[in-house]
Symmetry: C2
Subunit: 535 residues, 2 copies
């Protein structure tokens, strides 16, 4: 056994120890206490905890758990989650594992707020029958963010505890064990990190800027807001896949290291590959299309997408997660649009119905209007959008692409007119789309291509693809593309290819826009941009 | 409308055309026929099809579908899938879209085998009431792998058609439309590509070697075997995630471009990142562990993993898909092993119950024993494995790692003794595991780490991780690792970290070993190895 002796925080357990071991420990404790006293003069009071004898011993008690050794039969002990602490559990004696969110000593009492994920509960230690003076002092000195196990009785409270998620109960603590101790000096304070924007300024209280958050992501991700954002994002992925699997789609895995830059080689990262060099895939499109040519009919993939664009905006990342769809259709590419929009609607409904707790948690810090959508999804033609923008005073040509501000404006106009935050813009001008986009059969200026928007920002770009090698060659030549470089791509269509369409969705943008957030770095756990490669 | 006129293959529809347009088309057809005649002297008979006038026109008819224009109201036409062609549909007039798998003309008849994904059906055209002589000739000349729509009557057959998956019915074809025409010369023949190993040699028939398959993956993926393999693999991913989501896991997305090579920098790909350089992640481990330190408790991710190892074996790829798990536990890392093994068991059961068609399809080409597993999963200690190997005549030290042949042998010994193809090997010698592995509290020579095996090959490597910054520092120093390089990693554990364990599963290996295949390239759609970067 690595840890040869243990020290229990409660009187009862102390007696169980042999007197000899106890004496030895007390000696050590005294020694440590003296050392601590000395150090305390040099460092802040908060930091003392680490060298306090009780903390030291209790920490060793904690160690026992993860070594699972010695005599402590801890595995018999069921742990109750903070979120499950409700009035139904009143008067029950339970064990809870949580972090110390805040700690406040007041005479013979110590108030802790314990936190687990999105949930918090108040815990009280008072000198008396249940806790010794020593133990209350010990608790008061524990560092914030330490993980502890407490044995406690659940008590109903008369007045709601507004500062906690569990407002109707508190814990009366009888024992505390430290599982893992935090350093005293935190790089950011969690209370600051969840303060609503603006509120900090008004009250002169600190908020945490984005770089500090991202530099210390392991702590920033602990905030109730981050916990909620990424649980909801996990839901987006699951809803996306479940919907498509139900529709008969097959999940595929496409390579990220590729031998040739798919679209001419701009904005692509280069990789050293043994004695040669390779690229990181800017999209799985070629591979999705090859799967269509290989008869998988309906495929999707979820994976990283790499863009070496030096764009430092609120919505660009150099690495993001693509939710990609490609689908053979029978007669019209609108079959594919319908599949994609229905998938988005299932995502919106699933989030609304299953992630209300997460949405509410995020709204506390970042208030936003609930996300609105129509069934069936609104589909506008590009022409109509141009007309709406012109009516609103925008000067633009028929075949001109939409600027980002015009997309935003269009989003507002559509919201006013149709009361939806989600719509499809169909039939983009052929000139502004890639060479593999199928031209519109009825008007050579337009194409069978589309974007999808959430709250006025693009989340998907897609099209019917040219599936005929000859037409593809013609279109590539028209765009001045070196045919030699895309030979493998064109050859994929020489052995029979079904008509097909698809699109790629940016996961982080969907989460950001659904929640009404304003920066894609909030919805990427470890964002990558031209200036950020860590953590 | 891009295609201004159409030519129908059936008599009935031909009459619907204006005589003028018909005349014009006939003229064109004659012209094209003359040209074709000329070319036919130069090229093979098979290739003629492309220039035959009927093919040309029918191809244009096909074009009409994906332009969705002109007068053809095709969208009203429901398509029946090949797999749904059963005796219950006998005497029904239906439409089917499929590829021409084989084609054989015989006097006034033409037999086609139509294929869609894993399924095939025989189709018959005979000169008579239903088809013209011209049409039969046209059908006989269609290239293999072309995609066609046929209108046909489903007919029960008296004798089972052994060569097709749909053995009880055939189609009596009335109309054919070409959706997409294949070039006549295929880089590989699908019949050859599905021939069982060995059978080709015996009968002097061709099989297709692996490089030819992979070079022409878009065709090789069309084989019934490939269709089955990758549908089953999609199932592995879905079962993995569904099981974990049900257990309360959260899906995370981890970055693939990282600033520092996690384990010393060997076997890592370098990426040019704007003005600096970066690396491709060899595993998501650091990020999974950060999520645990950030209170997500139970996380998983599915994504690419990159290894710059110059290993040219049957089981190594330079890019593969990792199914990664990391989980905080309460008292013992066996809680995590139990979660992982239960997840694997759910996958095995799901495959067995939902993918029998796929398993049977693969077995036709690659026969193998059904995959066996126990509930609960067998867990052996490393010591026991060494004892079993020694009893079988292997000489090895207590703290020596298992060689690949010894792993294989162990797999056979375990299968003999316990009748299972899946087991966990627990408590590896500390010396053969990475620095972040938690030592065994009871024996300093061993560690809280484990591998999992399928049919004697490793599919997962995992461990309890050291979650204490101080112990982690000691372990790293003991391994002679430069502390400066792993500072960020160690710092992640300074602000309270729950005890946790995890592991990474190789998706392609799971699929390969479950199906009893012999090369991981068979279960990677577009494999990457030191010598292969394409397609």
């Amino acid at each position: 056994c690595v840890v040869s002796s243990c020290f229990r925080a409660s009187e009862e357990e102390q007696q169980a120890q042999s007197k000899k071991a106890l004496k030895k420990q007390q000696k050590e404790a005294e020694k440590a206490a003296k050392k601590a006293e000395k150090q305390a003069k040099l460092v802040s009071v908060r930091q003392e905890t680490q060298t306090l004898p009780m903390a030291h011993h209790c920490r060793m008690e904690g160690f026992l758990f993860f070594y699972n050794s010695c005599d402590y039969k801890s595995a018999d002990r069921a742990l109750v989650r903070v979120q499950d602490l409700t009035p139904e559990k009143a008067e029950q004696q339970i064990w809870v594992r949580a972090r110390i969110h805040t700690s406040r000593a007041k005479g013979k009492q110590c108030f802790l707020v314990l936190r687990h994920q999105q949930f918090t509960v108040q815990a009280l230690l008072a000198v008396g029958d249940r806790a010794s003076k020593q133990m209350v002092k010990f608790a008061a000195n524990l560092t914030k963010e330490s993980i502890i196990d407490v044995e406690a009785v659940v008590k109903k409270v008369e007045q709601k505890i507004e500062s906690c998620s569990q407002q109707d109960v508190e814990l009366h603590v009888e024992r505390i064990f430290v599982i893992s101790q935090s350093e005293a000096r935190l790089p950011l304070q969690l209370e600051d990190a969840v303060r609503p924007e603006g509120e900090g300024d008004e009250e002169g209280r600190a908020t945490v800027n984005q770089d500090t958050r991202l530099d210390n992501r392991v702590i920033d991700l602990r905030t109730t807001t981050s916990q909620a954002i990424f649980r909801l994002q996990s839901g987006v992925c699951q809803l996306f896949r479940d919907t498509l699997i139900n529709k008969g789609f097959v999940e595929i895995q496409t390579p990220k290291i590729i031998s040739a830059a798919s679209e001419g080689g701009a904005n692509v990262f280069t990789v050293s590959y043994f004695k040669t060099s390779a690229y990181l895939a800017q999209s799985p499109q070629l591979y999705k299309q090859m799967c269509i040519c290989a008869d998988f009919d309906k495929v999707f993939c979820v994976g990283p997408v790499f863009r070496a664009e030096d764009s430092n905006t609120h919505r660009h990342l150099t690495e993001f997660v693509g939710l990609d769809i490609e689908m053979a259709f029978n007669y019209h590419y609108h079959e594919v649009i319908d599949s994609i929009t229905d998938t988005m609607v299932q995502i919106f409904k699933g989030l609304r119905d299953r992630f209300q707790t997460e949405i509410q948690t995020v709204n506390k810090q970042y208030p936003s209007e609930p996300f609105k959508f129509l069934e069936p999804t609104l589909r506008l033609e590009y022409k109509e959008a141009v007309a709406m923008l012109r009516a609103a005073g925008v000067e633009m040509g028929d075949e001109e692409d939409l600027s980002t501000p015009n997309e935003k404006l269009l989003g507002r106009l559509v919201k006013e007119k149709y009361d939806t935050d989600f719509f499809v813009l169909d039939k983009y001008p052929l000139a502004v789309r890639p060479f593999y986009t199928m031209p519109d059969p009825n008007n050579a200026k337009y194409s069978n291509s589309y974007d999808m928007f959430m709250r006025g920002e693009e989340i998907l770009s897609g099209a019917q693809r040219v599936h005929d090698a000859q037409l593809l060659t013609e279109r590539a030549m028209h765009h001045g593309i070196d045919l030699e470089k895309i030979k493998a791509y064109i050859d994929s269509f020489r052995y029979g290819a079904p008509p097909h369409a698809g699109g790629g969705i940016g996961l982080e943008r969907v989460t950001m826009l659904y929640l009404g957030l304003h920066n894609v770095r909030q919805t990427s756990m470890f964002p990558r941009d031209p200036k950020r490669l860590t953590p």
